[in-house]
């Protein structure tokens, strides 16, 4: 099979993984090396597909042959999609050739499970080894780990990779059992536990003061498919919060289940719930950077996030008694709860109000959405009046989620 055809099959097979980040790892360049590549720490998106997703890494499968039968997956053993398999050298050369042209930050390699977890993992690790050791490649490498692969293979994977990930796939172990019968939810969590210990170990100085061997400096991440089972948002966020707490994940990616070619009839075949996915990301953000707890983010009775307004606005609308907030006096934790105020604006407000009082005109210069902020704040020369009592406040704050636009051309 021609390389181009393989690339088409194996990129197509990899596109359902939402993760694309090339961030979080240590900084390095090629200045003292023979090879190519660098990492800046913050990651770079080299392109964007019309699905709005960033293209940062060459994201491919080593092979889409798979002995498992996860119903949501295009590569499951029972699907009739065309199959292909890259050789180690093909992946290595493709990565280097794209990298030299500045198309990518590096490689995100995953694989269908062939023969057994160890065999598969060994092939994946071999690609990373050749890139690092033979070509002195210093770009980003993200490897998908196969749960329960042997500990030695994990150690080697961590030595070459900047980030490792294991997908929990579905928010509950019960859904996993019904939709991915061969996958073992407990083994997945067990492997994540091992990864956290190894990642933390590699950051501690040993007693002899020697630096421990490198292990996945960019941490670990995971992905959850949303909308393939009936789990509600409350349970999803609860799972995420526990995953963050237990395994110190850098990210939990949410992937709205989207129709796949040759789909199983066990699944909801409809347009993917993209707005729900978007709200989950916003809620996840509130968990990680805004001091919200998983329980308080879900305000609806049905255990779902409000699709009409963002989760912070939804929370504020339900807790109107805590508003308006005095921007010149409120503590940081409360400023972070004001709809429309991001982490940066809050930092700026805190710095500025040490110098002088903030007034209405000042807000216009902070580049934030006045429409969102104004009903919830007081300033020396501004008061929202009775707008917090307005029954239509929610409608006024609703922002039409940009629908699919075809009007571009």
């Amino acid at each position: 099979m021609e390389l181009k055809q393989k690339l088409e099959i194996l990129a197509d097979a990899a596109k359902y993984d939402a993760s694309c980040a090339s961030s979080g790892t240590d900084k390095r360049t090629s200045t003292n090396g023979k090879g190519i590549g660098s990492t800046t720490g913050m990651g770079i998106c080299h392109s964007y597909a019309p699905d709005g997703r960033c293209i940062s890494l060459l994201k491919i499968l080593l092979t889409n042959f798979c002995v498992y039968d996860c119903v949501y997956c295009v590569n499951r053993v029972s699907s009739n999609v065309p199959r292909a398999r890259f050789s180690v050298d093909e992946v290595v050369n493709l990565t280097l050739s794209f990298y030299r042209r500045n198309y990518i930050e590096g490689l995100f390699l995953s694989s269908g499970i062939i023969r057994n977890p160890d065999y598969t993992m060994e092939q994946v690790v071999e690609v990373a080894r050749v890139l690092r050791e033979v070509h002195d490649f210093r770009g980003y490498i993200h490897l998908k780990t196969i749960p329960d692969a042997s500990p030695e293979l994990m150690v080697r994977a961590g030595l070459y990779a900047d980030r490792l990930s294991i997908n929990v796939e579905l928010p509950t172990i019960a859904s996993l059992q019904s939709l991915a019968p061969e996958k073992d939810g407990k083994a997945i969590r067990r492997s994540m536990g091992q990864l956290r210990l190894k990642i933390e170990e590699s950051k501690e100085k040993t007693l002899t003061g020697k630096r421990p061997p490198r292990f996945s400096p960019g941490g670990q991440s995971t992905q959850m498919i949303v909308g393939a089972d009936s789990t509600d948002d409350r349970a999803i966020l609860d799972t995420s919060a526990n995953l963050y707490g237990a395994f110190r994940l850098r990210r939990v990616y949410y992937s709205a289940f989207s129709p796949i070619p040759d789909a199983s009839n066990m699944l909801p075949l409809k347009a993917p719930p993209l707005v729900r996915e978007h709200r989950l990301y916003q809620a996840d953000w509130l968990l990680r950077f805004y001091g919200f707890d998983a329980e308080e983010i879900i305000t609806g009775q049905d255990g779902m996030l409000d699709l009409d307004v963002d989760p912070k606005t939804a929370w504020a609308l339900q807790h109107r008694e805590q508003f308006p907030v005095d921007l010149n006096r409120a503590p940081k934790a409360m400023l972070l709860r004001v709809p429309g105020l991001g982490v940066t604006s809050v930092a700026r407000i805190l710095a500025a109000r040490k110098v002088r009082a903030i007034r209405y005109d000042d807000l216009t210069r902070l580049r934030l959405s006045l429409k969102k902020v104004l009903p919830f704040v007081v300033l020396p020369d501004y008061h929202p009046g009775r707008s917090l009592d307005d029954n239509h406040l929610k409608q006024r704050l609703q922002q039409p989620v940009p629908s699919q636009q075809f009007a571009l051309f």
């Binding site: 390389l3 690339l7 088409e8 099959i9 197509d12 596109k15 360049t29 090629s30 200045t31 090396g33 090879g35 190519i36 080299h46 392109s47 964007y48 597909a49 019309p50 699905d51 709005g52 960033c54 293209i55 002995v67 039968d69 053993v77 009739n80 794209f98 042209r101 500045n102 073992d184 407990k186 067990r190 536990g193 956290r196 210990l197 707490g245 237990a246 110190r248 709205a256 989207s258 070619p261 040759d262 199983s264 075949l269 993917p272 993209l274 001091g291 700026r348 710095a351 500025a352 040490k354 110098v355 000042d362 210069r365 902070l366 580049r367 940009p402 699919q404 636009q405 075809f406 051309f409």
Partner: protein, 494 residues
């Protein structure tokens, strides 16, 4: 009105020298005109002597005025912006800083806000340059390759981008051509030449076709979100992206493609499906173990598959007992620590290390004992991103107690060391503080002996060094007591 002429658009040194002198002369921002030009005879159009502050020479010199470090940083970024008013803006900020040293903290000030917006625009442009420069490969006569790109930045950022490109493509020969200035790297040194035009850049190379295949395949037609793409990849950059010509076609096809996937009936698998059987795990116990070990393994398996465990929901895994069986000494903690939950083994991490040291000092090898906990799962509460251990309640103990009893039956220890009052309570039905009962050998109803001591994890949390030392010594003493009792029992049995 005074005019200052800077050597180039990014002449930060020139701007600083001029600004310093002007400030010294107390010339207000509105009396200065900033120009960029080629003249090299000096920074100012004014005769030299006018620059020297004469009548103010006796006053406190303004030169002592120190600008905050962040202002210098701000200048470095703002000067790269394409807005011609930036020099004036920076000088005005400098001027105002004299009276308002904290000015830069005021993001709500119009001047500061404007400068910060410029910094943001420059950073973004720089970031987009790193992202969207596309090299094309040219083969040279000696067979080596050279990589050339054409790019049109919005601001004066080419030189600022150099460290990125030389650091990344150190061992490549490359050139980046732009309308204002061109940058060339031969593997060792960087050279700048005058601006070029797009026609001087090479045309499409063979690698681009593969890249387009990739772009086409990685796009998911069921998730069309054009506005999100445009926000990050505005059309002005499309001209030089080899993948951009595909966008229109991908968007147009996406709706029929998604619809096709939804209506297509499920197919029958054509491949012969081999059912994959996950290998039975025998992770903790050696396969060739004797009868006792087999009994222990069976017990563990039953326990793992039992639905009776209320705590198993969010714990990473069950933490089962560890060690050989039969064993004369059984170590009993109350519940796994966070590290144990992650590792799947009891007494790991720092507490485990401390325990090992104490066992060692008491003359006991870790392999001589069997170690376990009353609870087999980590019980915790989530606090932000931290998992805080929760105290055990009676019903937790009741749930797990049958398993512990069965475990003790299998392991057949003659002495049990309980770490902490709760572990002791599981065995005796009453809480027993190690302070009160430490150093004593107690006898359980089933005639096994019990030593109650302090949990190693608790010792770790003691701040006061003297107390810590004392408690560690107590732990060793208690363990030694257990060892002695076990020896005694073994002798009695003959």
């Amino acid at each position: 009105m005074q005019t200052v002429r800077l050597a180039s658009d990014t002449d930060i040194e020139g701007w600083r020298n001029a600004a310093r002198t002007l400030l010294l002369q107390e010339i207000a921002p509105e009396h200065i005109q900033w120009r960029v030009g080629q003249q090299t005879y000096g920074l100012f159009d004014l005769p030299e002597d006018e620059l020297i502050p004469s009548q103010r020479a006796n006053q406190r010199p303004t030169t002592q005025f120190k600008v905050p470090r962040e202002f210098i940083e701000l200048c470095r970024q703002v000067i790269l912006h394409s807005d011609p008013s930036r020099f004036t803006l920076l000088y005005r900020l400098l001027w105002r800083l004299k009276a308002q040293p904290k000015l830069l903290q005021l993001s709500v000030d119009p001047d500061v806000a404007k400068a910060q917006a410029m910094v943001k625009a420059v950073r973004r442009d720089l970031h987009k340059m790193k992202a969207f420069v596309r090299f094309r490969e040219i083969e040279m006569e000696n067979g080596e390759s050279e990589f050339v790109a054409w790019f049109e930045p919005s601001h004066h950022i080419v030189e600022a981008s150099a460290p990125f490109f030389t650091g990344r493509f150190t061992n490549m020969r490359w050139s980046i051509l732009t309308p204002e200035i061109c940058m060339h790297w031969d593997g060792h040194t960087l050279n700048y030449t005058a601006g070029a035009s797009k026609s001087e850049a090479p045309s499409e190379d063979a690698g681009e076709e593969l890249w387009r295949s990739y772009y086409r395949s990685i796009f998911n037609p069921a998730r069309l979100k054009v506005s999100a793409m445009l926000a990050q990849m505005p059309k002005k950059y499309w001209r030089n992206l080899p993948e951009a010509p595909l966008i229109a076609e991908l968007i147009a096809d996406s709706s029929p493609r998604m619809h096709g996937m939804i209506v297509a009936p499920p197919t029958e698998p054509q491949r012969k499906i081999v059912k994959y059987v996950t290998k039975e795990e025998s992770r903790r116990l050696p396969a060739d173990a004797g009868d006792v070990m087999t009994a222990l393994r069976e017990l563990n398996d039953t326990m793992l598959s039992s639905a009776d465990f209320p705590l198993s929901g969010h714990a990473t895994q069950a933490v089962l007992g560890q060690g050989v069986a039969p064993a004369t000494i059984l170590l009993l903690g109350e519940q796994p620590q966070e590290q144990d939950d992650l590792a799947g083994q009891p007494f790991t991490g720092q507490a485990g290390t401390l325990l090992d040291q104490a066992l060692n000092a008491a003359g006991i090898g870790r392999s001589d004992v069997y170690a376990t906990n009353v609870l087999k799962h980590y019980k915790y509460k989530l606090q932000g991103r931290r998992r805080i251990p929760l105290a055990l309640e009676d019903r937790d103990i009741q749930t797990y107690l049958p398993w512990l009893r069965a475990e003790i039956e299998v392991v057949q220890p003659s002495v049990i060391v309980a770490f902490g009052p709760i572990a002791a309570r599981a065995l005796t039905g009453k809480g027993m503080e190690s302070e009160a009962h430490g150093g004593k050998l107690l006898t359980l109803p089933d005639d096994r002996q019990l030593v109650v001591t302090i949990h190693p994890a608790l010792i770790l949390s003691i701040r006061d060094q003297a107390t810590k030392q004392l408690r560690s010594e107590q732990l060793v003493k208690d363990l030694a007591l257990a060892a002695k009792a076990a020896m005694q029992r073994a002798l009695e049995k003959g």
